[in-house]
């Protein structure tokens, strides 16, 4: 009641009342209330996040300085609290920067750059400090020694949440055994319930950073991950946005803040991959959108009704000679297939300049204007026949004459004689639609979507681009519509993909090495895709698969997700990478997957890494990659590439296993059978090697020779064709002669004859390769293109 009345009494005073309680809140305060957004929602998770932020910072610092990272993480139980220590061998931090980096939120070097790095916003480590001070009341203890620094600096600090500034409680110089590096100690209320996630994070970090040595010591154990390579990730460069990836808001902001005056300069300065040529292409598109094109018409071909007479009539008060010459030259200049308005202006201007000089008379703007108008009137007097030709060309044969004529007449009516006839594609389309609709209505004809589009294209192509300057950058910044036209023009232009120097993919070799380092598996595959673009930011997707060996075969596959080399351990279900994995039919690639969707099962580890100058996360805590279609597509393609390798490995393994099983079985059965046969028939013991070879080795090569003829028999017991390359080396003085029309090359070298065949031997068939040679001649056969385990070469000597 009261509040109602007071409100009724005077709105202003209420507003003032309210205004008193309205004040800016510091970012630190905001996050104090919203710690979950940064991954500090529980004690268990807070610990993992603090470690993660610290390690990410350390890795970034080391890599930037070109140092192979040595990172040490320790978690100690300290009564009710946990003490987290993260130490690195990075370049160290200067005395001036240090308090801000750890004690001020949103302080960082990366937010404004387009470059791949782990941290981006400058929130992480200071948020960990904030979390620590909020839960334990203890300051963060930071030690740092820069390269070459005599001693280390030591700070104890907290975040002043009102001002979002560091508050230093202790500052001193200390000696430290490390030559350079940084160490931070945080005490916080926490628990080890998320031990698994912590281990995962550290292990996955080791997988994806094979160049780092990482050690974790926690109350229950000690884990050490050694370096697998001395190769640091490629250094990244900062890049400008790519024209295909910016959004309207960004474009307007960029236009507002640029120093460039012209669009061309703006495009070339502010965007990557834009040179003069690309800028011109964009500007042409932009002009078409912003200014439109001018319709061009065929000049009248008859002398009486021609341009010349019109111009001659329009020029007054000039000598007859000059007038005639002027008219003649204008007409000649315009004697083209089609002429647009600006071309008339151009022609009149240039001819007028010539005449002025030659005849020493002035052809001023009035005269020129009259001449242009007169010429243009004459040109645009008759438009129907021009349009008829265009419409006819666009609607080949399908429309009869009357319909084409009707369309041409209606279209012609849209262009007033004498106007400049400047239209955008959109306007032109409206004309076509209107004409088509009328024709459908009155002439009982159909003009479908395709026909309309064809007519539009024909007319648009016939129209001339205008020479006018495009609007300036300021116009783009001021007007949303103009900016939107420019954006469309940029998207339409063909522009090469952004450079990938700003990205540091792990590279497939190191993905492989990283997986091999941490998993005792039988098979590894790694794929690094080419760079793609999303929202102006280039990105690269990498995937890896490890299969078999010591990987647990029960349950679902382990999925390792990474963004810019940072393991993502939480919110797996919300991540685009998981969605993609679930939607791939892994059964096609030989993995278990009940129902054909979901995470596949079996002894398999799936790894995916998204590297980008700006990885789109679902939230500030950077746990899950957002569902951006471009990224999802690349993830899928990358996985499919790796999975194809897995499939062929599994197929190969399966058939080798079956082969092995068969060999083992037959290896027991056949010798027993042979032995029994010797007993039953009372004959000598059998040698069954040849039989075994014939059964197990699918291709058998044997040599038979008789009376100067050598016969190589290639017997194929496989269930598909084989095409072996059989080379027979014959030591003889006389040239061997091929028999039976077999195709072979015969080459002599140092008294040896090389006979080479490439027979195609069908399943279950035998190829016979015959030639003549002394029964005494030494022969050696080599067989290529048959896997060794599938070949028995009985003709080696």
């Amino acid at each position: 009641m009261t509040s109602q009345q007071s409100r009724l009494g005077g709105g202003e005073s209420v507003a003032e009342e309210l205004a008193e309680s309205q004040r800016a809140i510091s970012i630190a305060e905001f996050f104090e209330k919203n710690r979950h957004m940064l991954g500090f929602d529980s004690g268990a998770r807070g610990l993992v996040t603090a470690v993660k932020e610290g390690v990410d910072n350390s890795l970034d610092a080391c890599e930037e300085a070109g140092i192979l990272p040595d990172i040490y993480v320790e978690i100690q139980e300290n009564r009710d609290y946990y003490k987290v220590t993260i130490e690195d061998n990075g370049p160290g931090i200067t005395k001036e920067q240090l308090p801000k980096i750890f004690g001020k939120l949103l302080y960082g070097s990366r937010f404004h750059t387009r470059e791949q790095s782990r941290g981006q916003q400058g929130i992480g480590i200071s948020a960990a400090v904030l979390y620590s001070q909020l839960t334990s009341g203890k300051p963060a203890k930071v030690t740092s020694r820069t390269q070459g620094g005599e001693q280390a600096k030591y700070f104890e600090l907290i975040v002043d949440t009102d001002r979002n500034e560091p508050e230093i409680s202790r500052e001193e110089t200390r000696s430290w055994e490390r030559p350079h590096g940084t160490r931070i100690e945080l005490e916080m209320e926490a628990n080890m319930r998320a031990r698994q996630q912590l281990h995962d994070y550290i292990q996955h970090t080791a997988v994806v950073n094979p160049h780092a040595r990482i050690e974790l010591r926690e109350p229950d154990g000690r884990f050490k991950y050694e370096r697998a390579t001395d190769q640091l990730p490629a250094e990244t460069e900062e890049i400008r946005p790519h024209p295909h990836g910016v959004e309207l808001g960004t474009l307007i902001k960029m236009a507002e803040s640029t120093d460039s005056y012209s669009i061309s300069g703006f495009l070339q300065e502010e965007f990557t991959r834009v040179g003069t040529k690309t800028a011109d292409a964009v500007i042409d598109n932009f002009r078409d959108r912003h200014l439109g094109r001018e319709m061009a018409w065929e000049p009248p071909r008859t002398h009486e009704a021609g341009v010349e007479s019109a111009v001659e009539e329009a020029v007054a008060n000039k000598s007859a000679e000059a007038t005639a010459d002027f008219a003649d030259r204008v007409a000649t200049a315009l004697d083209r297939e089609r002429v647009a308005h600006h071309e008339v202006v151009e022609a009149v201007d240039s001819v007028a300049e010539e005449i002025q000089v030659e005849y020493s008379t002035t052809f001023g703007s009035t005269v020129r204007g009259n001449a242009v108008d007169a010429a243009w009137m004459r040109l645009t007097d008759e438009r129907e026949s021009d349009l008829y030709v265009l419409v006819d060309a666009a609607t080949t044969r399908r429309k009869n004459d009357a319909v084409v004529q009707a369309l041409a007449t209606r279209l012609a009516a849209k262009f007033e004689p004498g106007d400049r006839h400047r239209v955008t594609r959109t306007t032109l389309r409206k004309y076509v639609d209107r004409a088509a609709d009328m024709t459908e209505q009155h002439d009982d004809a159909t003009v479908g979507e395709t026909a309309r589009e064809n007519i539009l294209t024909e007319l648009w192509t016939a129209a001339r681009q205008v020479p006018d300057d495009p609007p300036k950058v300021s116009a783009v910044a001021d007007d949303r519509d103009t900016a939107s036209e420019l954006l469309e023009a940029m998207r339409e232009a063909d522009i090469i993909s952004p450079p990938t120097g700003c990205l540091a993919p792990i590279t497939s070799d190191l993905v492989d090495a990283g997986l091999q380092k941490e998993y005792e598996a039988d098979f590894f595959a790694a794929t690094t895709r080419d760079a793609s673009v999303h929202g102006g930011d280039p990105f690269i997707v990498e995937t890896g698969i490890a299969y078999g060996g010591d990987i647990a075969s029960k349950g679902k596959a382990a999925v390792l997700r990474f963004a810019n080399r940072v393991p993502l351990v939480y919110q797996r279900g919300a991540c685009a990478t998981t969605d993609v994995i679930k939607n791939i039919n892994w059964r096609n690639y030989g993995l278990d997957q009940p129902g054909g969707t979901g995470i596949p099962g079996g002894p398999v580890v799936l790894m995916v890494h998204v590297a980008s100058t700006n990885v789109p996360f679902t939230s500030e805590s950077k746990d899950a990659v957002a569902n951006v279609p471009e990224i999802e597509k690349e993830i899928e393609l990358a996985f499919r590439e790796s999975a194809r390798e897995l499939k062929s490995y599994l197929n190969r393994r399966r058939s080798m296993q079956q082969r092995q099983q068969k060999q083992d079985k037959l290896g027991t059965i056949l010798p027993e059978m042979a032995q029994k046969l010797s007993v039953v028939t009372d004959r000598e013991d059998l040698d069954i090697d040849a039989t075994m070879a014939r059964i197990m080795n699918d291709v058998l090569v044997v040599r038979e020779r008789e009376h100067g003829t050598v016969c190589l028999r290639v017997e194929n017991n496989d269930d598909r064709n084989v095409e072996p390359e059989v080379t027979e080396i014959v030591e003889t003085d006389t040239e061997p002669e091929l028999l039976d029309d077999t195709e072979a090359t015969v080459v002599e070298m140092d008294g040896e004859w090389f006979l080479k065949w490439n027979p195609t031997v069908g399943s279950g068939e035998t190829a016979t390769l015959r030639y003549t040679a002394d029964d005494e001649a030494d022969c050696t056969a080599h067989v290529n293109d048959i896997p060794e385990e599938k070949l028995t070469n009985g003709a080696r000597t």
Binding site: K662, I669, L670, K676, T691
Partner: protein, 369 residues
């Protein structure tokens, strides 16, 4: 199998040689570096064809190959070699064993891979060996499990038994049960007979009825008890009664599709033993009844046809072996009345009806008496 040396097929060396011959073939295949294999006629319904000359069903041209190229094939061949060894030794020692004993015996063989998985497998293997070696299982001294059926009638025979020769009159020297057919009826020599025909009877109950009523005496008939699907020995003896003594053979069974198949196996031979049809089948055997026609004419007590009965009848209509006017007519009639009757349903007209009325009427219709 050569029909002319049936009598001396007990010649051990012959069968032994045939078995060793097969072993030799395998040996040679190994020796030449070839893959050991065995080719045998495909033993399925689709590879059975009618031999117009001999009036029996024999295997067609299609063959299948057991090859050591596959593990399964190699295993089969290994078992074959083991079995060959066993049979050769058995012949040498002049002993015999049953099919079931062979199956259990395989348990003692060294290699697990050589052991039989089921008795069907060992039975089949012996049949394979019969086909390949052109001998019979009796030549191998292998006996089936089922005891042979019995014979009762005016017939005098001499049987070679383990305890010497026995001369037996199949009415005077035997009890009510009759003379038991030995597993190898080729050890029997016919001495004398006073018979006009042979009557093969499906069920034990009917056989006993005929004997009790003195049918064999009255009509000079040799009553052969089939005991359901007849054993090889029963079929062989029946054929010899026909071939050697020139006796007409008649078959008296229940009136249902399964019993028609019993007649079929006596007259035409079975698919499983088609390689022996020439030796076991009696194409001249005639069917007495119970015909579906009898069910109608004598108004016999009936059971309704079950679904499987109907299926069996329909499949017989398609079976080339039953493509005669007689069978087509009878089967179609049965499908029409949807009824079947047992032999013993004749008792509904009195215990003597079968011997006094039914059989004399039917047999005279068939010109047997």
């Amino acid at each position: 199998m050569s029909t002319d040396n049936i009598i001396d097929s007990t010649d051990l060396t012959d069968t032994q040689a045939q078995l060793l011959d097969l072993a030799d073939r395998f040996y040679e295949q190994f020796n030449e570096g070839d893959v050991p294999r065995l080719e045998i006629p495909t033993r399925t319904k689709s590879n059975i064809e009618y031999d117009e000359d001999k009036n029996v069903w024999v295997y067609g041209d299609r063959t299948s190959t057991r090859s050591a190229k596959s593990v399964g094939g190699a295993q089969k061949l290994l078992k074959s070699v083991y079995t060959i060894e066993f049979l050769a030794r058995q012949l040498e020692e002049e002993r015999s064993s049953t099919l079931r004993e062979l199956y259990y015996l395989s348990e003692s063989w060294d290699l697990d891979e050589a052991q039989f998985g089921s008795q069907d497998e060992s039975n089949q293997l012996v049949e394979d060996l019969e086909i390949v070696t052109d001998a019979t299982r009796e030549d191998f001294h292998m006996r089936p499990e089922e005891s042979g059926a019995t014979v009762m009638g005016p017939l005098e025979i001499r049987e070679q038994t383990r305890r010497g020769e026995r001369e037996i009159h199949c009415q005077e020297d035997v009890g009510e049960g009759g003379y038991q057919i030995p597993n190898n009826p080729d050890t029997i020599e016919f001495l004398d007979n006073d018979a006009d025909f042979a009557l093969c009877v499906e069920t034990g109950g009917m056989r006993d009825r005929l004997v009790e009523n003195g049918f064999d005496d009255e009509y000079n008939c040799i009553v052969v008890h089939l005991k359901g699907q007849p054993a090889r020995a029963t079929r062989r003896l029946t054929k010899r009664l026909h071939d050697e003594l020139g006796l007409p053979v008649t078959v008296f069974t229940d009136g249902d599709p399964w019993s028609y198949r019993i007649y079929g196996s006596v007259a035409y031979g079975s698919i499983k033993s088609a390689h022996l049809s020439e030796y076991l089948a009696t194409p001249e055997a005639e069917f007495v009844g119970i015909r579906p026609q009898d069910i109608v004419e004598y108004d016999l007590p009936t059971d309704p046809l079950s679904d499987s009965d109907i299926n069996a009848l329909e499949s017989e209509l398609d079976d080339p072996r039953y493509q005669t006017e007689f069978w087509t007519e009878q089967i179609e009639l049965q499908l029409d009345i949807e009824k079947k009757s047992e032999q013993q349903s004749l008792a509904s007209r009195g215990l003597d009806f079968v011997t006094d009325t039914y059989l004399p009427e039917r047999l005279s219709e068939m010109d047997i008496v």
